[in-house]
């Protein structure tokens, strides 16, 4: 789905979300009582220091408001921008700052919902979609840590061998189904049903602690993480 269709399905009563420089910003109403703030990154934009700071600034102003309107983060990005300038200026700090801004908004009472409708990869994925309190996706979304040809180069395995291995496990290969199986994504929405209803249903659930390792176990894509984390936590508490 394209951003315009997504926004009209989310906000049948209208919205004022606009795009500039690969970033989305504005708001819409699920119904007359429920305003939703919207930020986003669109058109496979590779976020660098400038984009990360612009997004973080908007999110922090929302967090600072006294109301508790949900915050929807639409994501169709590349990986982080790879450049000498971005690293010289401290891209790791600005991407971490963006993740912190999203965490802060959630702390301040705004549910943060990531809606992955296109691509996202590597550090950009961690600082945007994965940093939201809840992450949902639309079919056709394509999250990846690294594409298979690049992975073939780094692991020194042929693309054929990697493709064959990918068929047997969701743990390393790109794609929505694989990320869903590892527990990254709460729900995959149905594009043929009104998105506003699906967002309302999600907002009606309470969000508790980070349950993503539990989903990874249930879905069979990441079966050890939950038990390992729990065991280390137990040992630390027992030691005192």
């Amino acid at each position: 789905m394209r951003p315009a269709n997504i926004l009209s399905s989310l906000f049948p009563a209208g919205h004022d979300v606009t795009e500039a420089g690969g970033l989305l910003g504005g708001s819409g109403r699920l119904d007359p009582q429920t305003p939703v703030d919207v930020v986003g990154i669109s058109g496979k934009t590779y976020p660098g220091v400038d984009e990360a700071l612009a997004l973080a600034g908007r999110i922090l102003s929302i967090a600072d408001r006294p109301d508790a309107a949900p915050l929807l983060f639409l994501v169709d990005s590349g990986s982080q921008r790879m450049s000498r300038r971005d690293e010289l200026m401290g891209l790791s700090e600005t991407l971490a700052h963006l993740a912190k801004a999203l965490w802060r908004a959630e702390q301040a009472g705004h549910r943060t919902i990531g809606l992955l409708y296109g691509g996202s990869a590597a550090g950009a994925f961690i600082a945007t979609a994965l940093a939201c309190g809840s992450l949902v996706a639309l079919p056709g979304a394509w999250p990846e840590v690294m594409d298979l040809p690049s992975m073939a180069r780094v692991t020194k395995l042929s693309l054929d061998v990697l493709t064959e291995k990918a068929a047997g496990t969701p743990v390393f290969a790109p794609g929505l189904d694989n990320l869903f199986a590892t527990g990254a994504i709460a729900e995959i929405w149905d594009p043929d049903q009104p998105l506003c209803d699906q967002l309302k249903a999600l907002l009606a659930t309470t969000r508790d602690d980070d349950g993503r390792a539990g989903w990874g176990l249930e879905r069979g894509g990441r079966v050890k993480a939950a038990a390992i984390a729990r065991e280390v936590q137990r040992l630390a508490l027992a030691h005192g």
Binding site: E87, S92, H97, L130, K165, Q233, L235
Partner: protein, 303 residues
């Protein structure tokens, strides 16, 4: 660079276990889920790669100058310290315990980022570690990162570092999202020549990070210096609230406004008022700190 003094014991050259032994008070360390528990990666066999019994990270508890702390040390010599499912889950569990116990944490970073053979699990683990770090900080827990390892601190590891309450770095520490080889492979040698080591240090090395306020303390590549740095970093505030993040926003915007069009680290340092920027890489620690403490952009606890 001046040659190291004979009494110096390199942090960079040490193993993760060796670093922990020098960092903590003697005999105070207890490991959780150590190698005897054989919790190694279930995914490396698929690639015919050897596993390591601790999956390249040691987590546990000990004392630092008498103060109880939780610790995690990444082993850069095993798969470049890369973060996979088990490695990441050990750190997540430690940080969740820290939140419950209100116990400070010291992380000895040495990582190239996500482990590609288990990329999805590793990527998600990093997101879980970040959330656990921030949740712990919300309870007043200090999370201190030490940056001076052989593999640097790259990729998702650098984003975790960016969520710490204080960072200590040595000249050899490198902190960046995309590593030199990754930039060169994707954007060409004109954008970044990864074999130009001087360029690497000027762009992502410890001195540059300290000068722009990306880290809080600069120390010698020496185990005793890192210990002293960690003790000092544990005295810094851990507060993470709207005011701190608003201050960080302003700090990072000011950096871009002041240096955003600089072509090289030396140009940034010149704008900071460093008299002989080209000579900065050659300065020893005390000469560097004499200049840097007067000229650097401070982080001002806005982190």
């Amino acid at each position: 660079m001046t040659s190291p003094s004979p009494t110096r014991h390199s942090w960079y050259e040490e193993s993760a276990r060796g670093r922990l032994a020098h960092l903590l008070d003697p005999g105070s360390f207890t490991e959780f889920l150590g190698p005897e528990r054989r919790e190694f990666s279930p995914h490396l066999g698929l690639f015919n790669l050897p596993h390591q019994l601790d999956d390249g990270i040691i987590v546990g508890t000990g004392r630092l100058d008498g103060r109880p702390v939780l610790v995690a040390a990444q082993e850069g010599r095993f798969m470049g310290g890369a973060i996979g499912e088990v490695h990441g889950a050990k750190l997540t569990g430690l940080l969740r315990a820290a939140r419950q116990m209100k116990r400070d944490v010291v992380i000895l970073f040495d990582t190239g980022g996500v482990r590609l053979q288990e990329a999805n699990a590793g990527e998600l683990a990093i997101s879980e570690i970040i959330r656990a770090t921030l949740d712990a900080r919300a309870e007043g827990v200090r999370v201190v990162g030490l940056l001076g390892g052989r593999a640097g601190c790259y990729g998702g590891g650098s984003l975790i570092a960016g969520c710490c309450s204080a960072l200590v770095i040595s000249e050899q520490g490198r902190l960046s999202v995309s590593g030199p080889e990754v930039i060169e492979t994707n954007k060409g040698v004109e954008e970044f020549d990864s074999r130009d080591r001087a360029l690497v240090w000027r762009t992502m090395g410890g001195k540059h990070r300290y000068l722009i306020g990306g880290v809080d303390l600069f120390v010698d590549d020496d185990v005793a210096a890192f210990r002293a740095g960690a003790v000092a970093a544990l005295e810094r505030p851990a507060t993470l609230d709207q005011a701190v993040l608003t201050a960080e926003q302003a700090r990072l915007e000011r950096r871009l406004a002041r240096f955003g069009d600089a072509a090289d680290g030396t140009e940034v340092w010149a704008r900071l008022g460093v008299a002989h920027p080209a000579g900065v890489p050659d300065l020893d620690t005390s000469a560097f700190l004499t200049i840097a403490t007067r000229k650097r952009e401070g982080a001002d606890a806005a982190r």
